[in-house]
């Protein structure tokens, strides 16, 4: 394997463009998948990526390669420069962010890698669960993944940045042998030493046990208790639809009729706050912008921009939308407000058990699935409940309920929040990569539009 930091410097030294941005990444992944109490596929992969962005007269030429032997580097640099030919100037052209050319202390240190060894204790624990599940009429399905990615950024304007992002998760679905009862649980881990496999298994058993009573309910508006995974997927969808430019242009739920956006308006319940922060304890993520291509969400000219805590919603009030440097300058908005790949909804409220205990009548929802935008005007989303909907009456779980298709905007959902539980690290379902911390929430008038027979 080649030495990425040295390659980045060589690329910059060969560049004849007005400016040049070079991004390197080295990723090491190990994963294993299982179904019906037996392993199915697995993988162990090492990969590298090199992105060269040449800028000539504000025109941008971008190439990305996963194979870049030394003898081809010069050709790749020339190719990215040639890619500027015949293009109009970039609308979002800005001077590159500047640095003094000093690399961070760990710049050339060997990148971290993952190995199959990370699964050693875990795979023994999993084999044990397969045996226990088989003997009790349960089938386990799931996926475990461990990944370490090291990023390097070097620019002709003197930026040198490096960041190592560990990531990992375990997801387990437990089904009765006839597939008619189903439950899911997930846990985020970067080490596989802090996993609570017993706790995960106990949750699956508890939920399948609750499902021994099956109830049928009709579509309608329900009070719901949403588990953190369900809340997170709705919150993330909202974040991915919150570019300031799209809102300012009048084509999102955050657009103000007549022009501009709805920052400053109270759109959600006062108990709802949402933020992203690359330095959030246990959810640390890349603390600077990396972009291969521009959109309303990000700009190649913002590569290396330091990110910090961004409050999207505080006490129900929309506080910020994702804003590139270009868009901030063009609209005079305070900013920029870069995208940060994590999301936190604070909550120090009751545990889920306590929330269940104080419930008169509500549906408890484990997770959502197949979430898609139906109408951008309201950010109306549709999706399914998945792997566990339970009827709670008078503080007790009465049994499992059929799944539903819902039609609900996350903005409306957060407006209808009546209670916020305790925020915990959350493995998401619909969005694969995000690091999140979300609480369970109680929501009134959540619209279950039709019944799904899926189990």
């Amino acid at each position: 394997m080649s030495e990425i930091p040295a390659i980045l410097e060589r690329v910059l030294s060969m560049s004849k463009a007005d400016a040049c941005i070079v991004i390197g990444a080295r990723r090491s992944t190990a994963n294993v998948r299982w179904a019906n109490n037996t392993s199915t596929t697995n993988g162990l992969a090492e990969s590298e990526d090199l992105v060269i962005i040449s800028i000539i007269d504000e025109r941008v030429g971008t190439i990305a390669r996963n194979h870049f032997p030394d003898e081809q580097l010069e050709d790749l640099v020339r190719e990215s420069e040639a890619a500027c030919d015949g293009k109009p100037a970039a609308e979002d052209a800005m001077p590159l962010l500047e640095g003094d050319g000093t690399p961070p202390a760990d710049w050339s240190a060997p990148p971290a890698a993952t190995t199959l060894g990370v699964f050693r204790g875990f795979s023994e624990g999993l084999a044990d669960l397969f045996g226990r599940a088989s003997s009790t009429g349960m089938k386990l399905f799931g996926y475990a993944e461990h990944e370490t990615t090291t990023y390097w950024l070097a620019t002709s304007s003197g930026l040198r940045k490096r960041y190592t992002q560990p990531a990992g998760k375990v997801e387990i679905t437990g089904k009765s042998n006839d597939y008619l009862r189903s439950s899911w649980t997930g846990q985020v881990t970067t080490t596989f030493t802090d996993l609570d496999l017993e706790g995960m298994y106990a949750k699956l058993e508890q939920r399948l046990d609750w499902s021994k009573t099956m109830l049928k309910l009709e579509p309608g508006r329900y009070e719901v208790l949403l588990e953190p995974a369900a809340v997170a997927d709705m919150g993330l969808y909202q974040m991915y639809e919150s570019a300031a430019r799209d809102a300012d242009e009048g084509r999102t739920v955050f657009s103000k009729p007549g022009g501009g956006n709805r920052i400053g308006e109270k759109l959600m319940a006062g108990s709802v706050s949402l933020y992203s922060d690359p330095h959030e304890p246990d959810l640390e993520v890349l603390p600077f912008s990396l972009a291969m291509g521009s959109s309303s969400f990000q700009s190649v000219f913002d590569n290396g921009l330091e990110t910090g805590r961004s409050e999207w919603v505080r006490d129900g009030v929309l506080r910020a939308l994702i804003t590139t440097r270009y868009w901030a300058q063009r609209t005079g908005a305070p900013g920029p407000v870069p995208f940060v790949p994590n999301m936190i909804m604070p909550g120090d409220g009751p545990s889920l058990d306590d929330m269940i205990a104080r419930t008169k009548r509500a549906l408890l929802v484990t997770s959502f699935w197949y979430i898609r935008e139906v109408d951008p005007q309201t950010l109306l989303l549709t999706g399914l409940t998945r792997d566990g909907v339970f009827l709670i009456e008078d503080g007790e779980v009465k049994g499992a309920v059929n799944n539903f298709r819902y039609n609900m905007s996350p903005v409306q959902m957060f407006a209808n929040v009546t209670e916020v539980g305790s925020s915990v690290p959350t493995a998401t379902r619909e969005f694969e990569i995000a690091l999140c911390k979300f609480p369970a929430v109680r929501v009134r008038d959540f619209f279950m539009s039709s019944v799904s027979e899926a189990t």
Binding site: V32, G43, E91, S255, G258, V374, R386, E453
Partner: protein, 504 residues
């Protein structure tokens, strides 16, 4: 098997040492005791161009090269990938795959075995005329900005996003059984979205032509698909749509155009007949299926006019190949005949285990570092043999809706309950089109919907639609797939009003 196509394998691909690497890897796998091994080498070139209004937004050029060894050792799968192009490194990758198999053999309760397939050798190239990677970027950008200028110049729309994606996929497959196969395919997708905003109310609507992605070259944009005509027509259609009545929810007869119906076929038929879903392999992620094995040859999936095939051979199809990623030759087979479920999508492991005999060739990996999964072939609804026209179908509806172009989609994890919107909704009254509607979604249970299909159009209504980005598996993989469909008539389908669904 050689293609009749005039195109040649890309010299940038044939210059790579995949044959030597494959020989080294397979030899090491054999030496270390693998009972099955294959070697797959890929070069995948991609380009995406995006324009926003009258500006170029981004152009990215990507190239992914690498290889993987997949083998069976001690009854378990082992998989490892590499990017170092020396025979020693390829052999070491095979040794890593052996190590992976040994590590996970303890978690394996059933030894892996594969259906027979004879060894194949040869070259296969998809059919296209102009390699889009040989076309100047300036020409492609001018094409997209030209569409934007046409639509924005009408004064009826405020925003235009246009996009072009192109892929060239070169692949070499070698098996321990002697297979040696080189393949190359090209695909292209271009579409645009026009947005009209009423500044006084803040209301907005968008529309796209829903142009099908295809296994074709630049000729598709340059001369074959009527992008320019759509760019001229859509602003007016959008103006009319915004002024049109919001649909009254209830049951309607529907005529659905293939530019919309392909996605319903994909989600409700394509995914439900993937045998790996049926067997639970996707239960934690993509989901399972209602079309279980006990229903094979008995389930009345749809009405008697419903005939659906799976194939990997349709000309210009996105799932079309010469051979799949397990070395199985491309085929065509029945999935639904006269409305009855009669077939599934298979790979070699499932074909043997479930007693289907030979695999029908549905293994695919989206990049060299990923394991081949059972992925979707082209799954297509056959047209009627007599030429029933679109006008015939619309003429058979007293009070209904004609739906054109795919938009929002969602379906449950067992493929029962779906909900789709569209691009254009036309009111049908007395067998004739009577203006547009807005805020329309159709929602149904898969088998109810297909059993309500009264008629399928003839060959004149047939369009090959599809998608570049069908998602499945963990780690996630995407796959390109086409779906041919005629226009079709459905009776009494549940229509929702999306504005009312949002509580407005």
């Amino acid at each position: 098997m050689t293609s009749s196509n005039a195109a040649r394998l890309d010299p940038a691909f044939t210059a790579l040492p995949y044959e030597q690497l494959g020989d080294a890897a397979l030899q090491r796998a054999r030496d270390l005791g693998a009972t099955y091994a294959d070697f797959r080498f890929e070069l995948i070139a991609g380009q995406t161009i995006a324009t926003r209004d009258r500006e170029l937004e981004a152009v990215t050029n990507t190239e992914t090269t690498g290889y993987a060894v997949r083998l069976i050792h001690k009854g378990a799968w082992g998989f490892a990938s590499g990017v170092d192009f020396t025979p020693d490194a390829a052999a070491a990758t095979a040794a890593r795959a052996i190590e992976v198999a040994a590590t996970f053999a303890a978690l394996n309760s059933e030894p892996v075995e594969l259906a027979e397939e004879q060894a194949h050798t040869g070259t296969w190239i998809s059919r296209y005329e102009i390699d889009p990677f040989q076309v100047d970027d300036a020409e492609k950008i001018d094409f997209l900005l030209g569409l934007a200028e046409t639509a924005l110049g009408s004064g009826k729309v405020q925003h235009m996003m246009a996009r072009l994606m192109q892929v060239k996929e070169c692949k070499y497959f070698a098996g321990m059984d002697g297979s040696r196969i080189a393949q190359q395919r090209v695909r292209l997708q271009s579409d645009f979205q026009a947005v009209r905003i009423d500044p006084s109310t803040g209301a907005f609507e968008s529309m796209t032509p829903a142009a099908p992605p295809v296994g074709r070259g630049w000729e598709y944009c340059a001369s074959q698909y009527p992008f320019a005509r759509h760019a001229e027509e859509i602003p007016e259609l959008l103006e009319e749509k915004m002024a049109s009545p919001s649909v009254e929810p209830g049951r309607y007869d529907l005529v659905i155009h293939p530019t919309n119906l392909w996605l319903t076929i994909h989600e409700s038929i394509g995914h439900s007949t993937e045998l790996d879903r049926v067997l639970g392999y996707e239960a934690n992620y993509a989901g399972t299926s209602f079309a279980t094995l006990d229903k094979l040859n008995t389930l009345q999936f749809g009405s008697p006019v419903m005939n659906v095939t799976g194939d990997r051979v349709a000309e210009h199809g996105l799932s079309t190949v010469g051979f799949d990623d397990e070395g199985v030759e491309a085929q065509t087979w029945d999935i639904i005949r006269d409305g009855v479920l009669v077939g599934y999508q298979l790979n070699r492991q499932m074909a043997l285990k479930q007693g289907f005999g030979r695999s029908n060739g549905c293994a695919f990996a989206d990049e060299p570092g990923h394991v081949p999964l059972q992925r979707m072939p082209n799954v297509s609804l056959l047209p009627s043999e007599t030429d029933i026209t679109l006008e015939d179908l619309i003429g058979g509806v007293e009070d209904g809706i004609y739906i054109v172009g795919n938009n929002s989609w969602s379906i449950d994890m067992q493929r029962y309950n779906f909900q789709f919107t569209g691009q254009k909704f036309f009111r049908i009254r007395g067998g004739k089109i009577d203006g547009q509607l807005k805020d329309v979604a159709y929602q149904a249970k898969t088998t109810d919907f297909w059993n309500s299909m009264e008629a399928v159009g003839g060959p004149s209504t047939y369009v090959l639609g599809g998608a570049f980005n069908c998602g499945k598996g963990q780690p996630g993989q995407i796959a390109p797939v086409s779906h041919g469909a005629p226009a079709a008539l459905f009776r009494g389908v549940n229509i929702l009003n999306t504005s009312k669904e949002a509580g407005r």
